[in-house]
Symmetry: C2
Subunit: 266 residues, 2 copies
Amino acid sequence: MINVKEGLIIIGGAEDKKGDKQILREVCEHIEKENQLLVIVTVATEKPIEVGNEYTDIFHSMGVKNVSVLDVENREDAMRTENIELIEKASLIFFTGGDQLRITSILGGTQLYSNMRRKYKEDCVFVGTSAGASVMSDVMIVKGMDDESPKKCTLKMAPGLGLIYGVIIDQHFAQRGRVGRLLVGVAENPEVLGIGIDEDTSIIVNKQNILRVIGSGAVYIIDGSNISDTNVSEQHQDNILSIFDVKMHVLKTGDKYDLTDRRPFV
Amino acid sequence: MINVKEGLIIIGGAEDKKGDKQILREVCEHIEKENQLLVIVTVATEKPIEVGNEYTDIFHSMGVKNVSVLDVENREDAMRTENIELIEKASLIFFTGGDQLRITSILGGTQLYSNMRRKYKEDCVFVGTSAGASVMSDVMIVKGMDDESPKKCTLKMAPGLGLIYGVIIDQHFAQRGRVGRLLVGVAENPEVLGIGIDEDTSIIVNKQNILRVIGSGAVYIIDGSNISDTNVSEQHQDNILSIFDVKMHVLKTGDKYDLTDRRPFV
């Protein structure tokens, strides 16, 4: 049985590709391996052939019969009929890592892009890892300092793909020391929930807005709704941010979180 | 006027030594430069002469007339009468960086150590940077993985000097991505408050248990008192920790925190 109620799989990068491949196996659970089409989107990376071949081999080896790579390196490619048609046939679309601004700057405003959003509503499953993870939300982090104190200048944001709303997703979270930059994002608008995902770790979001965690690392939920004071609007770019009363949850594999009620559960 | 009500200055390491030296200037505010003795304790480092000379030169250049280095490289040194006498004369004792376990394993259980604790109650000011910061609390972090998901095996703790109770202090906090390991420490006993201090950043604790922040980075308070669920006691060493409802504050220079009431203020 394929789980069509879970439409979004967001991976913190560096998912295991050689061991038990827990996360990629989970991805394969969301497609009928014999007859549905899995499309790998390599637009984020500057090594599309290498990355496309690597994932194609992995998914083939895991039993997925129909795997294609969407070959889009610039906006002209994004407008090609054959690419639009390929996406139309997909049952699962997998965004690789690279640079999230490549994804949005090349796909944004095209027919391909609006077809993708329609397909998401129609039960096509979307998966993204690393840059492909950040890009899933309506606002995404494009650049920020790693291993740094929270400062406004450490964070640059941009509009993302908009498959999930009201969250900012950061990846390679523990491994690159990114809590500072995600705190800045949340302080700037506590309406938005910060989600930090470690490497080889993933959240799977269902249509009821519940996420569950799988993988070998942790997922951090930064909830700013109770922030009692912050200087984020007053400070200069390179001043340190002060934020009082942030709520944080650390979730491990198997834990769940209700994005609507903002509550973790097991 | 010297501020004798602030007995403890805890620095997250890598304090500025060449620019405006904000933190070291603050240290000098806590001593009468003309006639009181500042003692540098290099026991944490394996380069005591180099480190001792560096700080001696800096404090001299900032106008402190009487600066001595406590020369303790092993337990035998710690028991020498001249070293005990030197500490007796000190008005400010400055612990350098290095390895916090060197500090406690060499000084612990000696007359020198118990005299230090008495001196702290008698208004001698204690300052510690890096390893010298961690060692100030009754329980200290001695080892943990940087840039890592929270796991029990990433954290080793040991008894510290015990000048401040009820907190665990971690240093080089943003720069080494240490939020994971401090979260583990807090989850293991939420009675204890986690304090993460960035490089070139310091907390100054007064006798009323209020801390204030100075420096160019941030200070992170991790308050586990509202933790609603954690698997910390059940999990194996290398499993990921799950922790729900942690409260976090990010403080910048000038912010204050009441350690008794567990409340930040400006």
